[in-house]
């Protein structure tokens, strides 16, 4: 079954687009079928359920879904660890 990944940022779409592209590439390279839903933070609740949420902005709420920060895709620091965490959720 396709995994649904929500990729969200607060303001402009730029950082979440970068993160969404990275998640899509990662899933493809690992042959995991994903549906990526790129939205604003404020729209997360109405787009649940999902298997994973990746954000490039601050999120305080607990949506009951694994939440991983996509900031390493922006800074380039710690990408491997983040990719591994994402894969752990998607493969689980």
């Amino acid at each position: 079954m396709k995994k649904k990944v929500i990729v969200a940022c607060g303001g402009a779409v730029a950082t979440s687009t970068i993160a969404a592209n990275k998640v899509a590439e990662l899933a493809k390279a690992n042959q995991i079928a994903v549906e990526i839903c790129q939205i604003r933070i404020s729209e997360i609740a109405s787009n649940l359920p999902a298997d994973l949420i990746v954000t490039t902005s601050k999120v305080k709420r607990d949506y009951g879904v694994p939440l991983i920060t996509g900031m390493p895709f922006i800074s380039g620091i710690g990408i491997e660890k983040t990719e591994q965490s994402i894969l752990n959720v998607l493969k689980g």
């Binding site: 303001g11 730029a14 954000t55 490039t56 601050k58 922006i74 800074s75 380039g76």
Partner: protein, 170 residues
Amino acid sequence: MIWEELNENLVFESLDAKSTDAIFEQMGRKMIDGGFAKESYIEGLKKREAEFPTGLDLGEIGVAIPHTEVEFALQEAFAIARLKEPVSFIQMGSDDEPVQVHLVIMMCVKHPHEHLEHLTRILKIIQDTNTLKRILKAKGRSEMIHALKDKEMELEIEAIRCQDTPSIRA
């Protein structure tokens, strides 16, 4: 490419500022005076930074990429400033985690689509520690621009190679 679009008036060799506001006022003023942004641009920078901070911790070096919503812009532009002393920014994606910033790359964003391309390019440049160090150590503005140019040319060549040999990319 960014280096080609960089107006020398928008390159600061050693910006003397004690706060993010002081940075926004000095760099933003040049954007306004150069006809790239509206008079409200500085307020736009402050407002956006407060809501969505842009500090990035790249290991030893901190970089910030402040910008505004499109309504404050008149033309696409970049400004780059080396800070005389590091200034504390809040890290992007956080509420209160500070990062000491040495280099500021300010964007004047008029077209959201181009913004994404520019941002992707800026990230590729600043994720390369060697290029960052070259910019920080450069003697004068033209050497700063030259460091950017070299990195952008390298990225361009990589992009062409990937197009030629799709199997390597996959």
